[in-house]
């Protein structure tokens, strides 16, 4: 529309400033991680891999990584399975009270994490589950399920229902149709949901702190607790690794989403 060059310039400046505010500081961390200095300072003396080496060869960091991956993997597996099946059930069965099911599936998203943390702590204390990796993974599952549910449910709603009708008309019964058509067509969304679930677990601090007991902390918890003390630049290296993983997962999710959307659009002609 007829915006003047000035308005366009101001608009662009605003977008650039907000984008810088959202991403800039995080990128500074990447810069810091290649510092040769012993302490955090600006501008850092470049360039070395020493903090990465420290991260890779430090047993305690390794332990944290392993535990994070184990818990995150389990949580991803659980929440992807449970969330996808529930989304399928709501979308494709004669289940009553679907609204209620949906509200419940999304509920953990809006409840403050500290409540799950303190509540989980008192529950686990009773069940003698403090320090259980599986217990922690299940709590992370609770936090990841809403994402899986929302992503898969919206994909299911977008797919042209007539491809399922087509399978039925071609001779596939309902289960065959779900196996051969509904499932594979929604697979990108299921994987996207899984990526989100992993990121949630990968990023979780509060609940983990409360129910870990004497177990080694997970990666984000270790970063968190080392921040309370004077942070050595190794934290910057660890953070950079985490950023890279997150960006890779984000790109994967983006590609999968586009894929899913194109599939959904491919069905309705033109």
């Amino acid at each position: 529309m007829g915006d003047t060059a000035n308005i366009r310039r101001i608009r662009f400046l605003l977008i650039a400033l907000v984008a810088l505010y959202l991403t800039g500081p995080t990128l500074v961390v990447v810069w810091l991680s290649f510092s040769t200095d012993d302490v955090l300072r600006f501008p850092p003396q470049l360039f070395s891999w020493r903090w990465y080496q420290e991260f890779v060869f430090d047993e305690r960091w390794n332990e944290a990584v392993l535990r994070t991956l184990f818990v995150g993997g389990l949580a991803t597996l659980f929440s992807t399975t449970i969330g996808s099946i529930a989304a399928f059930g709501v979308a494709r069965t004669k289940l009553p009270a679907k609204r209620l099911v949906e509200a419940l599936a999304i509920a953990p998203l809006v409840v403050p994490p500290i409540i799950l943390a303190t509540g989980g702590y008192s529950l686990f204390a009773k069940l003698d589950m403090i320090g259980s990796n599986i217990g922690l993974a299940v709590l992370h599952t609770v936090l990841g399920v809403p994402y899986v549910y929302l992503i898969v449910a919206s994909a299911l709603a977008r797919i042209d229902p007539s491809i399922e009708l087509a399978a039925l008309s071609l001779g596939a019964n309902r289960w065959r149709t779900i196996r051969d058509v509904t499932m594979p067509v929604n697979l990108p969304a299921i994987i996207t949901g899984g990526l989100f679930a992993f990121l949630i677990s990968f990023d979780e601090v509060v609940v983990t702190v409360f129910v870990s007991g004497s177990l080694a902390p997970t990666l984000p918890v270790r970063i968190f607790s080392s921040l309370s003390m004077a942070a050595s630049p190794v934290v910057a290296a660890v953070s950079t690794v985490q950023i890279i993983i997150a960006v890779v997962l984000m790109c994967m999710a983006g590609i999968l989403q586009r894929w899913q959307r194109r599939w959904a659009e491919a069905a309705p002609a033109m």
Binding site: F42, I85, A91, L95, G119, T141, I159, M250
Partner: protein
């Protein structure tokens, strides 16, 4: 070539619905949501019930006493008040900046839009701990800001900026902005651009088109975004813990200290349940706004 199938002839039991696709039976529906219910029942409602039991395990009288103790606690007063204040400020800044940003993106070219969108998604994916660490690198004694200010001779001594409320606000707004921008941007995207053209043809100036057409059509999206941001802000833990220090603690930090440092699970439980109740009330209000608006649109 026709295969034979076994089926139970039953009138009215369609295997599919024309506008939905395959439809499975009710029992399968229950079976499909039961794992979700089982996990949420034990590990989501379980913890909440455990908190309530912890409060009431010595009778209603003792529970009343617990509540009384918490409510009378001056520290609780100041922390609760600060939590509300911080959440409110974060909400106002996030929604105002978020709306402006969403609007600017909406009026921009497709390229600018998609780049901006990717940059907004970036903090959503990167860890909140890492982002908070990034702010300490900005604001610490030897951080970028102090270095720059010293270099230009604006200050002689490095400033102490960490452990203060403004820095907490900066960190929290950064975390919450995507939650404000994205729903508002989505609402804007659903607007028909012809509406603006129609308004312009009717003689409205740019500002009139905005206040008379765009704003009324998007204020519901903004309201929902505001409540979402406020609710999430109330529960912030990591950002105030790292950037704010003890003097800027919010309710989650206080609960954590009570439980972990003072072994006062019951006090923490009371505060947690109060926080939960406030959250639920706000969400209830949000759902009412949502449904009223849905009626209005129809």
């Amino acid at each position: 070539m026709q295969s034979t199938y076994k089926f139970k002839p039953q009138r009215g039991s369609a295997v599919a619905e024309v506008d939905k696709g395959v439809v499975l039976s009710k029992p399968i529906g229950f079976a499909s949501v039961s794992p979700l219910f089982a996990v949420l029942g034990v590990f989501f409602f379980g913890p909440i019930i455990a908190l309530i039991l912890a409060i009431f395990d010595q009778g209603v009288g003792a529970a009343g006493q617990l509540l009384y103790d918490v409510m009378r606690d001056d520290l609780f007063h100041s922390v609760a008040f600060r939590t509300f204040r911080v959440a409110l400020i974060v909400t106002i800044i996030s929604v105002v900046v978020g709306y402006t940003m969403a609007y600017a993106m909406w009026r921009s070219s497709q390229t600018v839009r998609s780049i901006a969108l990717a940059l907004i998604m970036f903090p959503l994916f990167t860890s909140i701990v890492v982002r908070t660490y990034a702010w300490t690198a900005m604001f610490s004694r030897f951080g970028i800001i102090n270095t720059v200010l010293l270099k230009f001779g604006l200050i002689d001594q490095p400033l102490t900026m960490l452990n203060s409320e403004p820095v907490v606000l900066i960190g929290m707004v950064q975390a919450m902005l995507p939650f404000a921008i994205l729903p508002i941007y989505t609402t804007l995207l659903s607007l028909d651009l012809d509406l603006l053209r129609a308004s312009a043809i009717c003689g409205a100036k740019g500002r009139q088109t905005f206040t008379k057409v765009v704003l009324p059509l998007t204020k519901q999206g903004a309201a929902v975004a505001a409540i979402l941001v406020f609710v999430i802000s109330l529960g912030f833990y990591i950002t105030p813990a790292i950037l704010g220090g003890p003097k800027s603690a919010m309710i989650s930090n206080m609960i954590s200290t009570e439980v972990i440092t003072f072994y006062n699970l019951k006090g923490g439980a009371v505060m947690s349940v109060l926080l939960l109740l406030v959250t639920l009330c706000l969400l209830f209000i949000a759902s009412k706004i949502g449904s009223v608006a849905a009626h209005y649109r129809r």
